[in-house]
C-alpha cells in the first residue's frame, strides 16, 4: 500500500468513526489526493464523504424537528429524511388542526397515533357539548329577559286599570249612577280580558320555550277552522265596528294541529283588529299549491314601515306600537305565531305599507 493509499484509508476510517460516535456530524469537503491512486479506493472515499454529508444534513433536519421546528426545509434528494418528512407533514397538519379547533371549528377530527387522537377527539367532543349547553343557556336567558320585560311593561298597564277602576267602584258604589258603575265595570272587564289574552300567550310561549308542546296533527277542514275563528273574533271586533270577512272556499281538507292553528289565527286577527281604525274591515283568504295552504289576514289598518317589518318576529328587538284606540301590545303574539307556524312546518310572511294596511300570510303543509 502506498503512503497516499494509507492516507485515504485513514481519512475514511476517521469519517466512519466519527459517524459511529454519535456526536453531531458536520459536512466535510471531499479533497482529491494529488498522486495517482487506486481509483476504487478514491471512489470509496467519495462515497463515504457523500454518505457523511447526507447523514449530517438529515441529522440537522431531524434535530430541528425534535426541537419542535416544523417549518424547516428538508434537505433535497436525501432518502434518510423521507420518514421524518412524513412526520413533519403530520405534525404540521396537526398544528393546523389544533389552530382551527382553537378558533372554534369543532368539526375537526384528529387522526394521529391512536391514544393521542382519542384524547384530542374526546376533548373536542366535550368542547362541542359545552358550547351547545352554553348556547342553550344563552337562549333561555334571553327568553327569560323577554318574559320579565313583558311582565314589567305590559302586564302592569291593564292591572293598573283594573286596580284603579275597582277602587273607584268601591269608593263610589253608593253615590255613582248605575250608568257610571256600568262604565267602570266595562273598563275593568276590557282590561281583564286584555290581561287574560296576554296571560294565555305567555303560558303558551313558555310551554314552547320549555319544549312542552307536542304537535298533534289531525284530519280536519281548514275552512271550518277559519270560520270558527272569524265568529269568535267578530265579538272582539264589535266595539270598533270592524267587519271580518272570510273570502276563501267552502272546504279544504287538511291534516294539522287545530289548537296550534287557532292560536296563530287568533293572534293574527286580534292584531289586525288592534291596528285597524273603527269601521274598517279585515279579510281572510286562502291560497293553495300542491304542498301548502297559504292563509292571509288582510287589514285596512295603519300599516308599517319597511323598518318596522324587519323588527317583527324578533325576540331581541322588543317592538310594539299602540293600536288605533291606544290598545297596548307586547309583540309577543307575533313571535308566538312564528314559532307555532314553524312547528307546523310552514312559514310566515308580511306585506305592509304605511297607511295602507298589512297582510300577514302563513303557510301550513296540506
Amino acid at each position: 500500500m502506498t503512503e497516499n493509499e494509507r492516507e485515504i484509508v485513514r481519512r475514511i476510517t476517521d469519517v466512519l468513526e466519527k459517524m459511529a460516535s454519535g456526536r453531531k456530524p458536520s459536512r466535510i469537503e471531499y479533497t482529491e489526493t494529488d498522486a495517482p491512486d487506486d481509483s476504487t479506493l478514491m471512489e470509496l472515499e467519495a462515497k463515504v464523504v457523500e454518505l457523511n454529508n447526507l447523514y449530517a444534513e438529515s441529522y440537522r433536519f431531524i434535530l430541528d424537528l425534535a426541537r419542535g421546528k416544523l417549518n424547516g426545509d428538508p434537505p433535497p434528494h436525501n432518502n434518510f429524511v423521507t420518514p421524518f418528512k412524513q412526520l413533519q407533514s403530520e405534525l404540521r397538519h396537526l398544528t393546523w388542526q389544533i389552530e382551527q379547533i382553537a378558533a372554534g371549528d369543532l368539526d375537526q377530527m384528529v387522526y394521529f397515533s391512536g391514544d393521542f387522537s382519542r384524547a384530542i377527539n374526546q376533548m373536542i367532543d366535550d368542547l362541542r357539548e359545552r358550547e351547545e349547553l352554553r348556547q342553550q343557556l344563552a337562549d333561555s336567558n334571553h327568553a327569560k329577559d323577554k318574559l320579565f320585560s313583558i311582565i314589567a311593561h305590559d302586564l302592569r298597564n291593564p292591572f293598573n286599570a283594573i286596580v284603579g277602576f275597582s277602587e273607584m267602584m268601591v269608593q263610589m258604589v253608593n253615590m255613582a249612577s248605575p250608568a257610571d258603575l256600568k262604565q267602570f265595570a266595562e273598563m275593568i272587564h276590557t282590561s281583564a280580558k286584555q290581561t287574560y289574552n296576554l296571560l294565555l300567550n305567555l303560558l303558551e310561549w313558555s310551554r314552547v320555550q320549555t319544549g312542552r308542546i307536542d304537535v298533534k296533527p289531525m284530519e280536519g277542514d281548514l275552512a271550518l277552522l277559519i270560520r270558527t275563528n272569524v265568529n269568535i273574533s267578530s265579538i272582539t271586533a264589535e266595539p270598533k265596528q270592524i267587519q271580518i270577512y272570510y273570502d276563501g272556499g267552502d272546504s279544504y281538507p287538511v291534516t294539522t294541529d287545530a289548537a296550534i292553528f287557532n292560536t296563530i289565527l287568533r293572534n293574527l286577527i286580534s292584531n289586525a283588529i288592534k291596528y285597524t281604525p273603527e269601521r274598517g274591515e279585515i279579510r281572510i283568504s286562502v291560497d293553495t299549491n300542491n304542498r301548502f295552504y297559504y292563509i292571509s289576514v288582510h287589514d285596512t289598518g295603519m300599516g308599517m314601515s319597511e323598518e318596522d317589518v324587519q323588527k317583527l318576529f324578533r325576540l331581541d328587538v322588543i317592538h310594539t306600537t299602540n293600536g288605533t284606540n291606544q290598545e297596548k301590545g307586547t309583540g309577543l303574539g307575533l313571535i308566538l305565531c312564528k314559532e307555532f307556524v314553524t312547528m307546523l312546518g310552514g312559514d310566515i310572511y308580511v306585506e305592509s305599507e304605511k297607511g295602507k294596511g298589512s297582510t300577514f300570510t302563513f303557510s301550513i303543509p296540506k
Partner: protein
C-alpha cells in the same frame, strides 16, 4: 384563461342507469392505465413540457367543474376545506391534509396521501401529478374567484410518501 371547452358535467352520463350491475366503480389500475397511456402518447406527440401543460389544463377544467357541480362554494374557507377533504376521501381520490394556510394572502400548503395518480409509482426523480396541480388550481380558482399557482413540490415519484402542493395566489 377565458378558453371555453366543449365539456358539460352531464357528459359523465347516468351511471346508475348505464351500469346497473357494475356500478359506479372501477379499479385504480384501469384509471392509471388510461392516464399514463394518454400521457405517453401526448409526450411522444408534443414533448414533455407541452404534455405537462396540457395535463394541467385538463386538470384545471376538471377541478373547476368538480367545484361547481359537487362542492358547496358558499361555505367559509375552513368549512370548504373540510368539505373538500371529505369529498376526496368519499371519492377515494386521496387523503388531503392542510399543512399551512394563510387565508389572508391565499397561500396554502397541502399534502395528498394515497394519491390516486401517483402513490406506489416507480421512482422517476420528477413529479408526475400535473393533472392534480390543475385540479387543485381549478377548485381554488372557482371558490375564491382568483387565479392561483399550484406546484407539486414532492411526489411519490421523487421518493416521498406523500404529494405536497404549494398553492399561491397569482400576483396580479
Amino acid at each position: 384563461m377565458g378558453q371555453t371547452y366543449n365539456f358539460a358535467w352531464d357528459q359523465l352520463g347516468d351511471i346508475e342507469e348505464g351500469r346497473p350491475n357494475l356500478g359506479n366503480r372501477t379499479s385504480v389500475a384501469v384509471y392509471r392505465l388510461m392516464q399514463y397511456t394518454m400521457r405517453a402518447v401526448l409526450e411522444a406527440e408534443y414533448g414533455d413540457a407541452r404534455t405537462r401543460e396540457l395535463l394541467v389544463m385538463a386538470g384545471r377544467l376538471a377541478g373547476s367543474e368538480f367545484c361547481k357541480n359537487v362542492l358547496d362554494v358558499s361555505l367559509p374557507l375552513n368549512k370548504f376545506i373540510a368539505q373538500l377533504h371529505k369529498a376526496l376521501i368519499d371519492l377515494e381520490v386521496g387523503v388531503m391534509r392542510v399543512e399551512k394556510s394563510d387565508p389572508e394572502n391565499l397561500d396554502f400548503v397541502v399534502t395528498v396521501s394515497e394519491d390516486l395518480d401517483c402513490s406506489g409509482l416507480p421512482l422517476k426523480g420528477v413529479t408526475v401529478c400535473d393533472y392534480d396541480e390543475g385540479f387543485i388550481e381549478g377548485i381554488f380558482s372557482v371558490y375564491t374567484g382568483q387565479s392561483f399557482d399550484v406546484k407539486e413540490v414532492d411526489c411519490w415519484t421523487t421518493g416521498e410518501r406523500t404529494c405536497r402542493f404549494t398553492i399561491k395566489k397569482k400576483a396580479s
